[in-house]
């Protein structure tokens, strides 16, 4: 019981591998048989649903503390400038202004590597200039207007291609290309590969900057009790915020508590500690009052992350019989004003069997808000381009695009040369192709009569999302047999509270009503990683199962002691422990709990190690059916069929939410959403939710979800792969290919807006 060891754990999180020492469970449990499961895999309603529909859910945005002050941030109105002089005297004199921070009076805290919390060198419109706390937000806003700043306006560059040129205005002394050179990946020999090809397609695809725009703005409420700092934060990672804040304020981690109960969405934009949180903490200490800072929608669109854009020059070669011989990608993307990942080549490197591959990627600094991970960073962009190229190649060799993909299916990860723990993509292709009516798509492309032309397109998908250690969960059994799970993960709206409760309910065979889950509190919960990378369910649910199984063993042991029998004579069923055979004796959990006392009834579960020598990935495919109005250029997505291998489904209801939500975000990226910067002034034009166009209810297609997988027991005791990101990855690519199928013209840049379609149709 409770066997564990410490290992070096490595798995993919968002844009990169994490590697850290982790204590892992060595306990082995029987595979769950889907048919026997009573709670896991069932469409259980959200345990946090009541709070959210009744209005009683307190989001960070709603936290009110006694005597709380309200803060606002003065942001740079120019894309590139230096502060020559700043004067806050007039602002300080406004009644109700409590304190102002600028680079002149704030500690010099390093941020973004080469910059600072307050940096007089302002590298984008929206960069932080001053931070004001006042009695209320209105006063703070007034104060911002009275801060006098003398800016030295510098030349700017807001386009990655321009920024890469030698004479471009420089954001950093060592130039605008991150690391000074491209990131290169190579396998095989692409020259040889292209020689072998009987058809070659070469094309440049572009994707735009997308803004996360979660409905709840980024916000924090901070409070000092002496030297003890409590932060309520709208965050995807309470521990990552704690560590950052403790580091920069030079506080022991034990003196920083970060709490997040409910959060109004994030999609990657809330993975890291915000500058505003640290500024609020500094000012709260200075003025001796709690401080609340909530960004407004304009700030959300300027300053807290985005999906970087991409320009992808792709070249692919294939033989006549449909074998890929070479794939090449040259691409660049804008990280914004500070270091961030803008790569997008994993799609091309991993999706299809291809012996000769080369990618060269540049991450470029420009004078605009910095990128952050955004739901499947790199993949959404990468797949749009790759899947278009695959379709073009298929057309060149006269092969059905689906058949071409099937021909280039691989059961091994080609980058790490390892087999996948499971890959049921071929099944996904089959069921989805049938559901969409693939055979009935217009052939050739553009052959539908119009003016409303129908088209069908597809895209495959791969993502990591296997999660891994470290992830821990503590389980406490109360005296009445009810249970509390405590874990340092967080529910960012995906349903983590619910699925973890289901796992404990399943193992202990007690009703969901008896399980409470506490997440998002660094003071009480054992460590879990940030909620991102589609890793939460696959990382944390096994830890909960481990904790619950340990608890079950403990209860059996307690019952054995009390009943004076050996454990082997006992059976655990429906929360009751029986002796075997005749003259049954039994004890309920409640009775054992009373006897044992709560002091004994605590277990901590750990995520087991990922299997050695395997690659863990999720797979899927989406088929999109669109209708293109050739007289207006408008693309309407009629239907999406999504088929996935994502391991075990813990809860079909929350799964459906995730897939629908991902598809709608993908649809928004494909058709509407785009950060637009004025070319002449370098200022962002799309700073509200009218100009930055999120999809509305009227843009939703019919969605048909097929899950082809069962639990993947090679991964973990729950066999789960994450689905949050996979849900979005193939949507824009499938829509792009469907538009081509409808009109016979390829729109090579996203979003596919009516002006582009009309222009393409007229050419």
């Amino acid at each position: 019981m409770a066997d564990s060891k410490i290992i070096k754990s490595k798995y993919f999180f968002e844009e990169d591998f994490t590697e850290e020492l982790a204590e892992v469970s060595a306990n082995k449990y029987a595979d769950w048989n889907k048919k026997e499961l009573k709670v896991v895999g069932k469409p259980v309603s959200r345990v946090d649903g009541y709070d959210k529909v009744s209005g009683s859910a307190v989001f960070t945005f709603d936290v009110i503390l006694p005597n709380m002050a309200h803060a606002k941030t003065l942001r740079c109105p120019h894309p590139h400038a230096k502060i020559k002089r700043i004067n806050t005297k007039k602002a300080e004199k406004i009644p109700g202004v409590l304190g102002i921070l600028t680079y002149e009076n704030a500690p010099k805290i390093s941020w973004y590597g080469k910059s600072f919390l307050f940096d007089p060198h302002l590298r984008y419109e929206g960069d932080e200039v001053a931070f004001v706390a006042a009695e209320n937000e209105r006063i703070a806003e007034q104060a911002l207007k009275l801060i006098e700043v003398d800016y030295e306006i510098l030349p700017f560059v807001t386009d990655a291609a321009e920024a890469m040129k030698k004479d471009a205005p420089k954001l950093y002394d060592d130039g605008n290309i991150r690391g000074g050179k491209p990131s290169v990946y190579e396998r095989g020999d692409i020259d040889k590969g292209f020689e072998e090809a009987s058809a070659v397609a070469e094309q440049t695809y572009k994707t735009q900057v997308e803004i996360h725009n979660p409905t709840e703005p980024h916000c924090s409420v901070v409070n000092w009790d002496g030297d003890y700092l409590t932060i309520w934060d709208s965050t995807q990672g309470v521990f990552s915020v704690r560590d950052r804040v403790a580091d920069v304020l030079k506080l022991p981690a034990s003196r920083v508590r970060v709490i997040k109960k409910y959060m109004g969405g994030a999609f990657g934009a809330k993975l890291e500690a915000g500058k505003y949180t640290v500024m609020a903490a500094l000012l709260a200490r200075k003025i001796g009052r709690p401080v609340r800072i909530a960004l407004d929608r304009r700030e959300m669109n300027l300053s807290v992350g985005n999906r970087p854009d991409s320009v992808q020059k792709l070249k692919g070669g294939a033989t006549k019989d449909g074998r890929l011989t070479a794939l090449y990608q040259y691409s660049y993307g804008a990280a914004g004003a500070h270091p961030a990942g803008a790569g997008c080549s994993w799609a091309l490197r991993t999706m299809y069997l291809c012996p000769n591959v080369k990618t060269e990627e540049y991450t470029v600094y420009i004078n605009a808000g910095r990128a952050r991970p955004f739901r499947a960073p790199g993949h959404v962009q990468g797949f749009f381009a790759l899947e278009a190229l695959i379709d073009e190649l298929a057309e060149k060799i006269g092969m059905d695009p689906l058949e071409f993909r099937i021909k280039n299916h691989t059961d091994r990860d080609q980058v790490f040369d390892a087999p996948y723990t499971s890959k049921l993509l071929l099944d996904a292709y089959r069921v989805a192709a049938e559901a969409i009516g693939w055979k009935n798509r217009p052939q050739p492309a553009g052959s539908d009569a119009g003016p409303l032309k129908r088209g069908i397109g597809m895209s495959s998908q791969i993502w990591w999302g296997g999660g891994g250690p470290p992830a821990y969960a503590t389980l406490k059994l109360n005296r009445d047999g009810s249970v509390r799970i405590i874990a340092g993960s967080q529910d960012i709206g995906t349903g983590t509270y619910t699925i973890l409760a289901q796992v404990a309910s399943e193992v202990l065979e007690i009703p969901m009503e008896k399980v409470e889950v506490l997440l998002g509190d660094t003071a009480v919960a054992p460590y879990c990683g940030s909620s991102g990378g589609s890793t939460t369910a696959p990382s944390v649910s096994p830890a909960v199962r481990d904790a619950a199984e340990q608890m079950k063993a403990k209860l059996l042991s307690g019952a054995a002691a009390h009943l004076n029998v050996s454990e082997s004579q006992l059976v655990y069923r429906n929360g009751v422990i029986h002796t075997k055979g005749k003259n049954k004796k039994s004890m309920t959990i409640r009775e054992i709990a009373r006897k044992m006392g709560e002091r004994v009834l605590v277990t901590t579960g750990k995520r087991e190690a990922n299997p050695d020598g395997y690659a863990i990935n999720s797979f899927g495919v989406q088929f999109a059916e669109v209708e293109v109005d050739t007289e207006t250029g408008k693309v309407s997505v009629k239907k999406i069929v999504a088929a996935y291998d994502i391991g075990r489904v813990l809860n079909p209801k929350t799964l459906e939410n995730q897939i629908h939500g991902g598809i709608i975000q993908g649809l928004g990226f494909a058709l509407f959403e785009e950060r637009i910067i004025d070319r002449n002034t370098g200022k962002v034009l799309t700073t509200n939710l009218h100009d930055y166009k999120l999809p509305t209810v009227k843009d939703t297609p019919q969605i048909d979800i097929r899950i082809v997988s069962k639990g993947d027991s090679k991964i973990s005791n729950t066999g789960v792969k994450g689905v949050g990101e996979p849900a979005m990855i193939p949507t824009p690519a499938a829509i792009g290919n469907a538009v081509y199928n409808a009109i016979g013209k390829r729109i090579k840049s996203l979003p596919i807006t009516p002006d582009k379609v009309l222009t393409a149709l007229q050419s």
Binding site: P43, S45, R46, D48, G49, Y50, D51, K52, V53, S54, G55, S56, A57, V58, F59, F61, D62, I64, N136, R138, N213, P214, T215, E216, P217, Y262, M263, G264, G265, F267, D296, R297, I492, G493, T494, G495, K653, T654, E656, N657, I659, H660, G661, G662, I663, I664, Q665, N688, L689, H690, L694, T696, V697, K698, T700, I703
Partner: protein, 157 residues
Amino acid sequence: MKKINIRFKVNGRQADLNIAPNKRLLDVLRDDLGLTGTKEGCDIGECGACTVVLNGRAVHSCLILAAQANGAEIITVEGLTQNGELHPLQKNFLEHGAVQCGFCIPGMLLSSYALLKENPHPREDDIKEAIAGNLCRCTGYKQIIQAVEAAANENNE
């Protein structure tokens, strides 16, 4: 700056306030009355998170000066629950998985509430139209539509 007196009913209870004229209804609900169920997402009527029902109609509380609500009857998400019982809309939102992060949900509920008051037998298009001014970034909307349909059916039984 002259403060002004206003008086309106929120969730059936009278509220008398002396406020600055530049306060929005949203500010008064959240800050003065502590009704934080009503959310703020964009500040200029583009997201619908702040939707409340005012004199029977769904409106953006971020675009109404509190003074304009003088004499009005207002319902917020907190007013949908009666005697501890969830409103059929709330119950169905919960059961149909219409909720993910939940931040847009109060607004969605109030837009739907206003719809069902006016049109107890909405078609799917009516529902879509009623919540067209409410943005959701998580769910993809389908379960929300289903929840409203189910609540309408329940009401009509």
